[in-house]
């Protein structure tokens, strides 16, 4: 097993890829907060879990390239008369939550790397 596809790192990488793609999508929703007829889109957690399972199963055979998740419509609680269903507050909350999850994964990634580094260091140094 190479260091590159150790299961922990693979999971965390997948998580970061997911959240960074979701951030992209949420930014697009916010940019279109006043576009008539626009429906906000989001990624589904279920897709992420499925991808994660796949990743774990295939981690022995080698790393899979970055995956693109399918975006689906997820209208917010209100729709304006011009057919726009972006509620700025809800999108901001989602974006904040998403960032938090991304940073959690990133911190864990950093820690795992630190652990490996520690294990690789010669004794007594």
């Amino acid at each position: 097993m190479s260091l590159d596809n150790a299961p922990t790192l693979a999971i965390l990488r997948e998580s970061m890829a997911f959240h960074s793609q979701r951030n992209d999508l949420l930014t697009r929703n916010i940019a279109n907060a006043n576009t008539p007829g626009y429906t906000p889109q989001d990624l589904s957690r279920a897709d992420f879990h499925r991808a994660l399972q796949e990743e774990l199963r295939s981690s022995a055979s080698g790393a899979v390239g970055p995956r693109r998740y399918e975006a689906h419509d997820s209208p917010d609680s209100q729709t304006t008369v011009n057919g726009n269903s972006v509620v700025l507050e809800e999108q901001m909350v989602r974006a904040q939550e998403n960032r938090l999850q991304y940073e959690t994964a990133l911190s864990l990634y950093q820690k795992s790397l630190g652990l490996m580094r520690m294990a690789a260091r010669p004794v007594g140094r």
């Binding site: 930014t27 697009r28 916010i30 940019a31 279109n32 907060a33 006043n34 901001m92 950093q110």
Partner: protein, 137 residues
């Protein structure tokens, strides 16, 4: 990594669209009392910004832009001022259909959306920065 810079590009398009909208609102407010130059002529007509989702062909991103400004076809305000140079034969002057209060509310909304986009820029930037921190240690 490209995702985060994509987010920056989309948020930048959002900022651009909102500031274009602010410009239209400023034009409306500035012209709230611009009457015609000839007697009985039409005064300034209120403009309304129209946003549309746009596919940026160079990057393949779906961004936003202000596609055009459409004129507001509602009635002009009539006021009786016989001495005014733009008054018609009955002494009425047609004033623009701009309502300053509506424009102000619109401006607030534009401001709020602008700030939301700015927040996304900041947030995406920080995400990128944290990822780059991996290199540092």
């Amino acid at each position: 990594m490209s995702d985060a810079s994509d987010a920056l590009a989309v948020a930048a398009a959002g900022l651009r669209a909102q500031s274009a909208r602010m410009r239209i609102i400023a034009e409306n407010i500035a012209n709230a009392n611009s009457t015609a130059e000839t007697p009985g002529g039409d005064p300034y007509r209120r403009q309304m910004p129209v946003f549309e989702a746009e596919l940026d062909r160079a990057t393949g991103l779906e961004t936003v832009r202000m596609s055009r400004a459409t004129p507001d076809m509602s009635e002009f305000r009539l006021e009786y001022e016989p001495g005014h140079p733009a008054a018609n034969e009955d002494g009425y002057v047609r004033y623009p259909n701009v309502q300053t209060l509506v424009e102000l509310m619109d401006m607030r909304e534009a401001q709020r959306s602008y700030e939301a986009n700015l927040n996304m820029v900041e947030s995406s930037r920080r995400m990128m920065e944290r990822a780059l921190d991996l290199l540092r240690r």
